[in-house]
Structure formats: structure tokens, C-alpha cells
Symmetry: C2
Subunit: 359 residues, 2 copies
DNA sequence: TTTACATGTGTCAACGTTTACACATCGCTT
DNA sequence: AAGCGATGTGTAAACGTTGACACATGTAAA
């Protein structure tokens, strides 16, 4: 009647199958499947017998077989751009994991390590695994995204601008940057420096360029608004593309040192990231410039802010939520469908900002 | 000859199958499979024809079907204990991912969020997915580990002591702690404080207890060695089990404040983690005690050390390597086999330690 | 010339689930 | 009394891949 069973639920390896529980319950596998998924008609008596058999044998549905048959694996692949030393990606991945498992989805991760070839390998692996969707956080090479798109698999991009048929999760960096600047101006600062990274010219990096440009634009526009515009002499932009170890802490330290040498009159600095701000704090500490008494510092992203001394005022970027939203799109969207989710930043005032020093 | 094909490699959805390329190459699926895996005899001419057909159709092996047939998915599940705010788990997960993908394995992640029930759900999901191995970093509930073990799936535990048939990755906290203490004594410190967490008494948390005990033992033993032993008055252990938000930065700040109030004579502190050290640094900054001029601080784990001002001297814990080793065991071990890997810590001297202040 | 073994390829039955379809009953309505 | 829909269950064919097995050759040793 039923094929010979080998996993009888006792030895442990490879577990009992639908056939095994069907046999014990004296029904067909179809009925067991119906019980399992609660669809179709099943009498109460049968249902109970099947459920008992499942319990006794410790039956666990083989998701691999199920996935093959149904053509869907309920799995999301997360492709990380790179992870160290920035917690951004880990945080996003966690958000995806959270939302996905909440809905019974599985999450595969792959770290592209910043290289297009690695990313390609990851895409291949994910497509091979027949994931339902791939979340790029953030994509290295647009061609890899294109590839997924062509394969008819849902694409979700984090922090990368519009792509024909994909879900996109974006955060408004401009508003956050203006909030930070307004905060400094309200405290009475007028000589405010900016340290950040230069916008890459490579069109491949358009997403990164957008983020960088928005933060700097916030700085410039608010100064302008208050009549301090048109002067970029207090802006220090590095040249990280020449620097193999970028982004490094050292970078923030260097930028800040350069700013202090060049414009000793500044009473506050706006750093384009917490990592940069952390480096800036180190430079200030070394020069015995006390924060916030003698200089105020604002960061961006809230990755390290809490841990620093003093705790850093920063613009929080909702990384975890970005992951959650990305997973939401991944689970909801049809292949080759577009959708955009915008998330807001939030100014978190801590102890690195205060009124300017009395000169 | 061959079944009707539906995915012809053009429409994108669901892709071409072995049958499709077999048809185009004029061979059987068995031959295509042989070419794919490079096993068995295939003539050069046939191989070339098959490879051409695969390339033209953009064939990608369906890992789901393959996994079902072969009974192995080449997938490792990583079960995280929890992730925020400690980068430890993310780092270990990354190490696993790195080593795994290097060998063509896939990595599923699940975050137990510190709860045994969530962990159980994760284990169920992983077993359903028929992962080849599960890495617990670190396990919440031993019964969940037991469950995996009984299912005949390879178990690897990170930082949790012996379990019958499992791979275990451990790091020697004791040696690291003694290195840190010796460093302080060599600089001339004699009044050294210790801030850390109390060892949990719950047998479920034996792994955590071991780690905590080893670090404290290192502190005590080295002091003893140098004739300053038997005095625990400079040891501040919290009571985090009462604190819902543990572990928090606030904790380090509080412990340090308590230590300074109670034993103002201390010239150096050994903190049981970087997070605690970061909090300590905040307390010192607030009191305008300059590091390292007036007080030295040593951390443990190197999670935050680099970012702090001043950069923290700490005992580096090889988290990434722990993940790599865990993946190695996961891929190598037979089910229900034991194996232990010990990793060493390393003292990293930065700028938070120096000779004691002249009183 | 037989024998044996290496080489090359096809057939077909799995792997464990899902689901369309068929076939029963049962209780009602006309 | 026939007909109908709702209910309950089984049969069997997929899903795409793998691998044991069978069956060819060809070539070299006996």
C-alpha cells in the first residue's frame, strides 16, 4: 500500500515522511497533507488520528520537497555589500530576519565583501536556491541586480535609487542633516565645520553619491538660510577612494585634524557619519579640547553614538526598520514590480552638543 | 523523448531545466548531470555541446531538487542568541558565512532574541529546511540543542561548554585576562579595580558563567601572584539579572561610578567587556579624569575599543575566527561527533593605558 | 580470437510533497 | 425518486535532479 518506510521516527536521521504518518493513521498521504495545511475537507476523527500519528513520530515537513513541488521556498536572500567595520549592514540584515521569520520565511545571507564578483557568486547561489526574493543592502554592481530582475525574482534595494521593477527602501538624509544643523544654530553656533566623504563620480555608486550629497546639501542649505552661506572653507572632504582601508576611523581623525588646523575658529562640527564623528572625538581628545564645552560634535546614523564619551548627539538612521521594510516588500511584491518606501531620520540629542565656547 | 519543456530560458521565470539543455544538446539528462558534476565518463565533444547549451540557456542547477534527491542541502543554519547591542553575534555569524560560502555552502540565520521559544521555532525551521548543521551562537536552552542532536544533525556550539556529541568552539578567557592584568602591573599599577557582571547561577547559563568566572579569575590570580591578592574590595559586580535592559552601556557607567566612589585610590580598571569599558570611559570623562594620564582602562573583546576616545587597550576576542572555526566543524563533522577548538585572545595595547598618576 | 576492462551514454526509479481528478457518501431539495 | 451540492478520501502524476544499472562500443591483454 505505502512504499517501504525507512525513517520511522526513532533513529533520528532523516525523519519520518508523510508516508510514515499516513501509514500509521491508515490514510493516504493526500489526507495527511490536507491536515497539515488545513485545506480541503477532513473529518474530525481522521484529523485527530493523523495529528496523533504526527506527534508520535515527531513528523516535520520536508521543506525541500515541499519547495520543489510548490515552486516557492519562502526564503529571502540578503546580499550584504560588506559588513566591517560598519554595523549598518548587520543591522539591516537583522531587520530583514526579524520581519521574515515573523511570517514564516527563511533568510539566507551572503556577504559580497564589496566586490562585484563575490556579489555575482552570491546572486548565483541565491537563484540556485530558488529564493523568492533578494534584498540588496546595498548593491555593488547594477548588473547583478539586473540579473535577478531578469530571472523573474523579486528585487528589493536598500539605499539605492530607482531601478525599473524593484522595491526600494530609502531614507531621507536631507531632512536629517538639516535637523542636525538647525540644532547647532539654535545653540548659537555660527562657525560650523563639516567633515565627510567626497561623492563618488562612478555612476555605479549613484546610491552612495546620493546619500553623501544629501547630507552635505543639508549642511549648506541651512547655513545659507541663516545667512552664513556660500562659504565652503570649513568643509573637509577626504579622498577615500585612494585609501585602501576606507572607511576607517583614522579617516575621521585625519579629517578633524585637518579642519582644526585650517579653521581653528570652528565651535562645532557636523560629521557625515558616527564613525567619522568617533574619529573626530579622538582628535579632539588628543588636543584636549573638551566636548561640548569647547566644541560641539554631531554625528550621523547612530551606529556608535551611545558608546562614545561623551555620548554623541546624532541623526538616527532607522537601519533595523529599513530591514523590516525591505522584508515586507520582499514578501509582498510581485516580480518586476516597483514600490518605494521612505523612512525618516530622527535627531537624537545627547551630550556632545552645547552652546559655543566663549572666546 | 524528453518531457515537454516550459522554461526555455527566455521568459526568465523558473528557468531552464536539465531536460531543456539535454534536449538542445541531444543527450540525456544523465549526461548533462555528469558534465555538471564532472564525474563519470563524458567525451570531449559531448561535454562541449552540453556546456554550450547550458551557456545559451542560462541554465542554473535547481538546488532544491538537487538537495531533495541527494538528501543534503549544503546549508548551515546559524542560530543567534540575540544580537543587540552586542556585535559579538553578528561577527560570529559573519565568520560562519565567510567560511561557508568559501566552500559553496549556504547560510541561514535565525535570531532567537534571547528566548527559548523563539530558539525552538528557529530549530524547527532549520530542521524543516534540512540544514546539514546548526551552529548555536550561543544556545539559549540546552533542550533545543538536544533536539537537533537527536535529529541526527550536526551541532556546533560557540562558547558553551561540553555537550556530548557536538563540535565546540571556545576561547580561553583566562589567559587573556591575565595578560591584561600583567600589562597593568608592568606599567606600575597596584590599585587596580575590576568591573564586571556577576556569574549567573542558573545551570542553563553555564557557558556564560564560565566566561565571566575566567575573566575574574585572571584578575584575582595575577594580583595574588604579585602579592596583592585576597582583596576583593575593588571588585564591582552588578546585578544585571534584575535589570531588564542588560547589558547596557549605562551598566558600565554605573559600575565605574560606584568603583570611583568606593575606591578613589584606584589608578587602573579592568573591565570585563568593551561595552562596560565604554561606560566606564563616559563616567571618567564626566568626572574629568583624564585617560590614561590619571587612570588607565583595559577592556575585553575588542568590539568597541578602536572607536573610543582614547582608543582602548583591550583583550581581543577572535569573534570572526570563532565563526570560521564553527563553520569548519559544521562542514567537517559527522553527526553526533565531538570536537573541540580552542582559540586564543590577544592583548591589544592602544592609548587608554599608561603609567599610574603620581599622587 | 576470446576476454576483460576502460570509456561513453541512455533508462528509469527514486527523493517527499502537492494537487488535480475521480470516486464515494450523505442529506436535501424538487 | 431522481438530482444536486457538500463532504470526505484515495490515486497518481508531477516538481528537477541524481545515480544505479544496463548497454553499448573500443582497445589491449591473454
Amino acid at each position: 500500500m505505502t512504499p517501504p518506510t525507512k525513517g520511522d521516527g526513532q533513529d533520528g536521521k532523516s525523519g519520518p515522511t508523510l508516508h510514515d504518518v499516513a501509514a500509521q493513521a491508515g490514510v493516504s498521504t493526500a489526507t495527511v497533507s490536507r491536515v497539515l495545511h488545513g485545506k480541503g475537507y477532513v473529518s474530525d476523527a481522521t484529523r485527530r488520528r493523523v495529528e496523533k500519528a504526527m506527534r508520535q513520530q515527531g513528523f516535520r515537513l520536508n521543506a525541500v520537497a515541499s519547495g520543489l513541488k510548490r515552486g516557492s521556498t519562502r526564503t529571502i536572500g540578503v546580499l550584504l555589500h560588506e559588513t566591517l567595520p560598519n554595523p549598518f549592514f548587520a543591522e539591516v540584515a537583522l531587520g530583514v530576519e526579524h520581519a521574515a521569520t515573523e511570517h514564516g520565511y527563511n533568510v539566507l545571507v551572503y556577504n559580497a565583501r564589496g566586490s562585484a564578483e563575490h556579489e555575482r557568486t552570491g546572486v548565483d547561489a541565491f537563484l540556485s536556491q530558488r529564493v523568492d526574493a533578494i534584498v540588496f543592502a546595498k548593491a555593488v554592481d547594477a548588473r547583478n541586480v539586473e540579473l535577478v530582475h531578469r530571472a523573474g525574482v523579486v528585487v528589493v534595494e536598500v539605499e539605492k535609487p530607482r531601478f525599473r521593477g524593484a522595491g526600494v527602501v530609502l531614507v531621507d538624509n536631507y531632512v536629517g542633516a538639516t535637523a542636525a544643523m538647525r540644532h547647532l544654530l539654535e545653540l548659537g553656533h555660527e562657525q560650523i565645520g563639516y567633515i565627510g566623504d567626497p561623492a563618488p563620480t562612478d555612476p555605479e555608486m549613484a546610491g552612495t553619491a546620493r546619500v553623501i550629497a544629501e547630507r552635505l546639501a543639508g549642511y549648506r542649505d541651512v547655513l545659507e538660510e541663516h545667512g552664513f552661506g556660500g562659504d565652503d572653507s570649513r568643509v573637509v572632504l577626504g579622498e577615500y577612494f585612494l585609501d585602501p582601508g576606507w572607511p576607517s576611523l583614522r579617516t575621521g581623525y585625519d579629517y578633524m585634524s585637518r579642519l582644526l588646523d585650517r579653521s581653528p575658529e570652528v565651535t562645532a562640527v557636523f560629521a557625515a557619519s558616527d564613525l567619522l564623528a568617533a574619529g573626530a572625538l579622538q582628535a579632539l581628545y588628543e588636543r584636549r579640547i573638551r566636548v561640548p564645552d569647547q566644541a560641539s560634535v554631531v554625528g550621523f546614523d547612530d551606529t556608535h553614538a551611545q558608546h562614545l564619551a561623551p555620548p554623541l548627539t546624532t541623526v538616527r538612521q532607522p537601519m533595523f526598520e529599513m530591514g523590516v521594510e525591505a522584508a515586507g516588500l520582499a514578501m509582498k511584491l510581485e516580480p518586476r514590480t516597483s514600490s518605494e518606501v521612505w523612512l525618516q531620520t530622527e535627531l537624537v540629542v545627547r551630550q556632545s552638543t552645547g552652546p559655543p565656547r566663549q572666546v
